[in-house]
């Protein structure tokens, strides 16, 4: 069974990775950073929201997710 805290950690980690990934794709694909496009902006908002959601779950401790 996964707890709220564990789920929070998973979501925060996933959100962090996603945020990092969005920038990484830009760096690796384009070779150099050329700014954030409209789709990337949406993805960035979503990944940041996942990260924040994960953090807000941390105080809920060992309650089952």
């Amino acid at each position: 069974m996964i707890t709220k805290r564990q789920l929070g950690l998973i979501l925060a980690f996933f959100g962090f990775l996603l945020t990092l990934g969005i920038f990484a794709v830009e760096w690796f694909e384009a070779g150099n950073f050329q700014g954030i496009g409209p789709l990337q902006r949406i993805a960035l908002v979503i990944s940041f929201a996942i990260l924040v959601l994960g953090i807000t779950l941390l105080p809920f401790g060992d309650r089952p997710a």
């Binding site: 069974m1 996964i2 709220k4 789920l7 409209p38 789709l39 949406i42 979503i46 959601l53 807000t56 779950l57 809920f60 089952p64 997710a65």
Partner: protein, 547 residues
């Protein structure tokens, strides 16, 4: 209506208010039953329509015909008849017995897909009924699913998408039942979980998009029974892979090429964002209720399979921006949101009951009003019958829509009034096909019959009707062409030699070199309008001898 009886028996509420709640719930039920009648009118008019209503239906029929003859539809596109399917087999295999009995008829797949949507609606109603125990609410959410513009548009078509949604819904409802009973009794139900896995497998082998529901179900199991989720994921993955490799081996690699490679299409951000926005605007009440319950469960309860399913299915809606994808990609999220809306409403009614009769009446009335708001948002209404026209007029809606026939191979045409209104905007799905459409289809089939060969046609229906070979699957060819996976030499050679007596265009989906050679060797001799599309009928040019 035990709710109402209770209300009426209450001494704390004036009977007039109880009647208002009763009337509003009754009205909501009548409105959604009205949509259900409309759905049936549309479905039954499609059952008697013997041609493609949505481009691609005929190719699904062709897949079924090939299966019924013991052949794989995953074939080499480089050689005549240049045909292959890009969809997994389950939906077509289910229809095979009907093809054996009745021959290659469009209604076979349309009936099966339609029944699939009814099963989904019943499963949604059951999911709500087992928690809320309020039949009016269960009926409302089941009908709300069928009343979605998207479900209405594609539900009774010969397309596998809604059949996938049926398997997905059954899997998620069943996993909820199985896990809940296990937690109540403390006994494992491996057989129940096995059935869930089979349903997921069937969903995935109906259409690849079911991966989102597979992730949701395993995500739910991971939260509840982490070790067991991992243990079940291994055989599930193995079974999925085994079937994949067996089919791939049996088709000499054509399965991989045609179901995976051919589905790697360009992404159109504007299409994806536009459909996301439209989905929310059409299903606002359902979506807000689903989001609200998901957040509540996330922080104050345990996440249900339905909440996880909704989040992942909604996120997966972003794939609707892929070329060739569309509104139906939101059908899974709509099914999940209907269940969550029913659960929210059921809980609110239960909660209000404990707060006293006034709250009870107020909450019941508000829920009914919100369902009526939702009904207004998804307004779609054919107006080809005087009674339907009168109803649209009575509720203050327009009675017709002005749409220009879609042209690709002919000059643009002026907009004409069509007897159909849809809040999803101007579209060509939803208006029941009529006798004029059938006659137009027959005219095109007659054109095919006037030649000696099969038509090089963008739709399969005309060749089916004329008893000729079905040649090419244009969108499949275009996808493969864009991925560098098709050799068009033989096809271009045959067109260059004018080996086809007729060519039929609807949207010019063929790869550019194919369109180019047709442009040189064939000429348009007639235009026929069917289902709001202008079809171009082409014959070999006589002024240019074959090379």
């Amino acid at each position: 209506m035990s709710e109402i009886t209770e209300l009426r028996n209450s001494l704390d509420v004036h009977p007039r208010w109880t009647y208002i709640a009763y009337l509003l719930i009754g009205l909501a039920l009548i409105v959604f039953i009205g949509y259900f009648i409309i759905y049936n009118i549309y479905a039954f008019s499609l059952f008697r329509f013997p041609f493609d209503f949505d481009q691609g239906e005929g190719f699904e029929l062709m897949d079924t015909v090939l299966f019924s003859q013991g052949q794989w539809p995953y074939q080499d596109n480089n050689n005549y008849p240049f045909y292959s399917s890009n969809y997994p087999p389950v939906f077509h295999l289910v229809i095979v017995p009907l093809i054996w009995l009745f021959g290659p008829q469009y209604w076979t797949g349309r009936v099966v897909a339609y029944i699939g949507t009814l099963i989904t609606a019943v499963a949604i109603g059951y999911a709500v009924q087992r928690e809320s125990r309020r039949i009016w609410l269960s009926i409302l959410v089941g009908l709300a699913f069928l009343a979605s513009n998207y479900v209405y548009h594609v539900g009774p078509l010969f397309r596998q998408h809604m059949f996938m949604v049926m398997f997905e819904t059954l899997a998620v409802v069943l996993v909820t039942v199985v896990v809940q009973r296990e937690e109540e009794t403390g006994k494992r139900n491996n057989l129940g979980l096995l059935v869930v896995m089979v349903l997921l497998l069937l969903a995935g082998y109906t259409k690849q998009l079911a991966y989102a529901t597979v992730i949701a179900v395993f995500g739910f199991l991971f939260l509840r029974q982490t070790k067991r989720a991992v243990l079940w994921a291994i055989p599930f993955t193995a079974a999925t892979a085994l079937i994949f490799f067996i089919i791939d081996s049996a088709t000499n690699g054509q399965w991989l090429t045609n179901t995976i490679t051919a589905n790697i299409n360009p992404y159109i951000p504007a299409q994806g964002i536009g459909l996301f926005r439209q989905w929310f605007e059409l299903h606002t009440i359902l979506t807000i209720a689903a989001v609200a319950l998901t957040f509540y469960q996330l922080y104050f309860e345990r996440l249900s399979a339905y909440a996880i399913w909704f989040v992942i299915a909604a996120a997966n809606g972003i794939t609707a921006g892929k070329w060739g994808a569309g509104e139906s990609y939101f059908a899974t999220a709509i099914a999940a949101s209907c269940i969550l809306t029913g659960l929210v409403a059921g809980r609110l009614v239960t909660w209000s009951k404990s707060k006293g009769p006034r709250w009870y009446v107020a909450v019941m009335s508000i829920i009914a009003l919100l369902f009526l708001v939702q009904a207004n948002k998804v307004f779609h209404w054919p107006t080809h019958m005087p009674a339907l026209r009168a109803i649209a007029s009575a509720v203050g809606k327009p009675v017709e829509t002005y749409v220009a026939p879609q042209t690709s191979c002919s000059a643009p045409r002026a907009a004409v009034a069509i007897p159909y209104v849809d809040s999803a905007g101007v579209g060509l799905l939803g208006r029941p096909p009529n006798d004029e459409d059938i006659e137009a289809g027959k005219r095109i089939a007659q054109f095919v019959s006037s030649g000696e060969t099969a038509a090089f046609s963008e739709e399969a229906g005309f060749n089916f009707y004329a008893g000729r070979d079905v040649i090419t699957n244009p969108t499949q060819l275009l996808n493969l062409y864009n991925n560098g996976q098709v050799d068009l030499t033989e096809m271009i050679g045959m067109l260059d030699n004018q080996q086809f007596d007729s060519v039929i265009f609807r949207a010019q989906f063929y790869p550019p070199p194919v369109l180019e050679v047709i442009g040189r060797r064939y000429e348009t001799i007639e235009l026929v309008e069917m289902n709001g599309f202008v079809y171009c009928l082409l014959s070999p040019r006589e002024d240019i001898a074959p090379s």
